[in-house]
């Protein structure tokens, strides 16, 4: 039985407590929040769990094996470091840290202490992303051409970060997981209209072998859109995360290229066939993710969303930030 301490009981914290509580092999032993109101809510929803306003008490407690850091990003480094130093495994919100140097230090520390870090890139554990990964692994799509995602809505303006740090980590972690190769460079553009932080931004990421990815994030959209196009040589798919029943549609559409003898021009011919919407697993992604963490600790395995994968996302965020300041200059990764 692994005992979990959760730091941060705001919007996302209650989901962490509820899901760890529901898993065999874990129980939540302590909840920490500096807000008395948040602690009161925690006590009402989960009677029987110890409460504290002092994260130090939590990370030092001998009754805790895993610390979940569910706080704003600027607290991740400090809290994760202190948890690791006290011998705890750490589950930490995305983005992993505020910069790459912090992430590297934490990864090194965890390795030295033989502890696990999992960064909460929840989307990797949704039925949709797992299904797409299977389609790619099974060669259904063929060689990939592009990943193009639109993630916009009338959103909560963050006071400390821009729309890229808020929304892009989802797609960055997903594309790293799906495309498998290492991104080479990126370009980011965007604009801030209201409070000094960019509220609309566009990122292009160049991968090897002509694979290209693009992310469109926007806090000022009148409608919510969560749509990703993935184009492959053999098939192409549309993932609409807002669709209740048909999240993934796989199209037997594509282009075949050939050359005629003695002719310059390439011949491009089109294929157009059936569409197919595979059933997608409905289990709550967070539950699957936390179960994976428990399993990795138990078996001494590396989570697919370990510190290193969290670091890669932070590196891309930093690069995007740099490109954004240059109004779209190419930044090597």
């Amino acid at each position: 039985m692994l005992r979990v301490g959760v730091i941060g009981y705001g919007y996302w914290g209650p989901n962490i407590v509820r899901n760890f509580s529901g898993l065999e092999g874990a129980r939540v032993g302590m909840i920490c929040d500096k807000s008395p109101e948040a602690l009161k809510r925690a006590g009402k929803n989960f009677p029987g769990i110890s409460l504290t306003a002092d994260p130090g008490e939590l990370v030092r407690s001998p009754e805790i094996d895993i610390v979940a850091v569910i706080t704003p990003v600027w607290l991740h480094y400090e809290l994760t470091k202190s948890a690791l130093e006290n011998g705890k495994h750490v589950f930490v919100e995305k983005p992993f840290t505020a910069n790459a140097a912090q992430a590297e230090e934490l990864i090194e520390l965890a390795e030295r202490k033989h502890l696990k870090i999992m960064v909460d890139h929840t989307f990797l554990f949704t039925g949709a992303v797992r299904k797409i990964r299977h389609l790619i692994d099974d060669g259904v799509l063929g060689d990939l051409f592009y990943y193009d995602s639109m993630r916009v809505n009338l959103g909560l303006f963050q006071h400390d970060i821009n729309v890229i740090w808020d929304l892009a980590p989802h797609d960055l972690s997903i594309m790293n997981y799906l495309l498998k190769s290492k991104p080479e460079a990126l370009v980011a553009t965007g604009q801030s209209h209201l409070n000094g932080h960019e509220n609309i931004a566009f990122i292009t990421v160049y991968f090897p072998d002509k694979v290209i990815a693009h992310i469109n994030v926007n806090w000022l959209s009148p409608v919510k859109i969560r749509t990703t196009l993935i184009g492959g040589e053999k098939k192409m798919l549309v993932w609409n995360d807002l669709s209740a029943d048909e999240k993934i549609k796989v199209y037997d559409k594509g282009v075949d290229i050939s050359t005629r003898e003695n002719v310059y021009d390439l011949l491009v011919s089109y294929r157009s066939g059936d569409m197919w919407a595979p059933q997608v697993e409905q289990t709550e992604a967070l539950k699957v993710e936390l179960a994976h963490f428990l399993q990795c600790i138990h078996d001494d395995q590396t989570p697919i969303n370990d510190g290193l994968s969290g670091l890669r996302v932070v590196q891309m965020l930093e690069a995007a930030e740099k490109s954004l300041q240059n109004r779209g200059g190419l930044v090597q990764l």
Copy 2:
């Protein structure tokens, strides 16, 4: 009665002939195409119109007042120039020319000869774009923040141009028409997967006063999408050109910014109200556009899509091409 000669009877030419024929004040006197098969089709569909395989015959004919150049872009300069030199007004396909220098020369020539040029940016004459322009002119949207368009489908690969030259002219002309201010700089990224010409590309355009525009064009999408988000200070709209009945939806949604006394943070509050889909004029855009051309010739007025507006689009295409080669460097306009 203005007499029209149409050069090029491929995919789009028949629509030009049909629409000019349907307008009072014009009739089509001659059709030119070098393909005997195309001329045969023209003769069958429009008996009574002279046919020729020689564009020289058409542009020199004293029976012709307007020359419509409906050919691939690399022929636009030569044919338009020759028509102007022979004293004809010119209606020319978009993009206007293959480079800005050609466009400038043609504009100068037309001015000298007191002739009109109209570049076929048909979209400006759709009910949807005219309605959006009215909404902007009437202040319904307030100050504009962004224009974000997605224009993707499984498309015809062009042998001589990339997806930007094929699809982006639509959005570039529309944004120039709607945003009214002069674009300052742009960034383009993209990739070619099949025949050496980019088949997927993303353009960010910076306008004054923090207005930003973005275009996503793709020939390799499994689904057809024609959706533009336009965000304003007061209201925001979604234009879905594929919707039969509700092409434009105006949302009473937005963000209000205020500052509390003695407090650093800006307060961002949300508005969310009714949605409204104004009825959109259904008249065929090409018909409205050609009628506008006849009217401008008659009244000696400047078309909204004159040579200068065509030149601005060509300049942006050239800039996008340059940025694309640099994998996303900023190019001043």
Copy 3:
């Protein structure tokens, strides 16, 4: 402070407990279910509330002012009667009773005892239905022509009732609320394919002044549909209850009728204008409904969904059942 006892802690019961608990002016004092497992869940979710397996204990308790009967329909009569006899107000699931005679007896009993009955036709308290009622009351739609509802999905087969008793009460109560006039007669058709109870059925209801209503209910549909068309002389609307943001769309469409002098034929001309999606209140309908019940008890007013309105629905269900047996004969109401 009104004290509530809830009988039945299956699928819907927890929502009743949660919503009464959240309202000022009420608290849940006792929960009853004959299943030990249900009681265990209740105890876990709502510590501090008395539990019992004996409904008699609950209805007789002097600590209870309101009894909520959240059980299968065949238990409604007995439990409601016993609660009323013990001087409790009653909130009872829909349909009110298994037949009209039972409903009439209960209404008479409640009146004699000066107690309130509310039948849980939750839909009347949704933002959508309240908005439609306002549109009708304000004359926006003009005189009504029809109400046409489709309510289908791959549904839970009930063992004791058919799809009409399961799904039609929603639309019957809504149409009674919206159309305001008294239904005159109805016709029902349908078929049972699997377990002897009809799983697909269609009901037509005739109202005065040529108003007609139609309900399509189906447990064997591959897709979930919850769409109602309401046609009025001035405007028409579509209510799609599954739409997240645009549940109600009001169309400025319609038909005008005139007669030309000396001419037999009526002239029918069409109007087609803007569409408008009013914002719809998002508050949980059950919360609004229960607050209305508390208010009615407090002010000695009649709920809009009182026993009489519940009786009208039961009468229509009985008539539909009768018509169904006759494969569609007209049954007067």
Copy 4:
């Protein structure tokens, strides 16, 4: 080469002329309309075809092998009879005739003269209906449970017929074609709001083996809906005729029924799997239909939409009319 004479050049006539003209093995020799304006349009669109205002001239012409009767329904009987008497095959608009007696007489006459009748139930030749028929024939859906169609829009009010005679023939012919068995009885309800003819109506048709069909037709709907649900034992499908790319969606959803030993209740368990949208043939249905007619004449075969199938639709329309007058009484077929 079969020579066609077309009587009636209103809304649909031009499509008949165009499609016969485009087929090998046929040419249109004469067009008849009593309106001089219609004849003028015909002459302009199809120069070289003889024109007449006298149907007698057309049906007696020795230059004509097939007469196409594209007129209002009250002229079908007279014109078809006269064409058959003159030894012509007849292609006639739906509904076949104004009553069943007329249809029977025409069928008998055609048989006696060894001539073919085809009734223009165009929908049977759409890619969608042919695909659904294949799915049924191949056993993909299993035994059928129901056919449920909604066919509504803001429609053209007909002066001489109600919405059932206008819109229901589509679904009646389709269901006869797909369900294959003979309908046993039907029930129709509806209402007339404006000009004395019903503008909204609902028909339930009982087929053998518990198969049930339902049609919802409405001229006063603010939105256009063309959606049919077809439920089978193995799979179920949704046919949305307004969808550009995904007209048919086949759902691997359903219900399995079993009985536990010693237990009354049937156990109903749900299946829910992938969805699949087969590609649907895009060829214009009318072209496929007319080619089928030419082939049937050439090979002396019976069209799938012969006089008999047209008669069955007329019988159902008459029965629906009768039921409608009785406000929903069951009418045996």
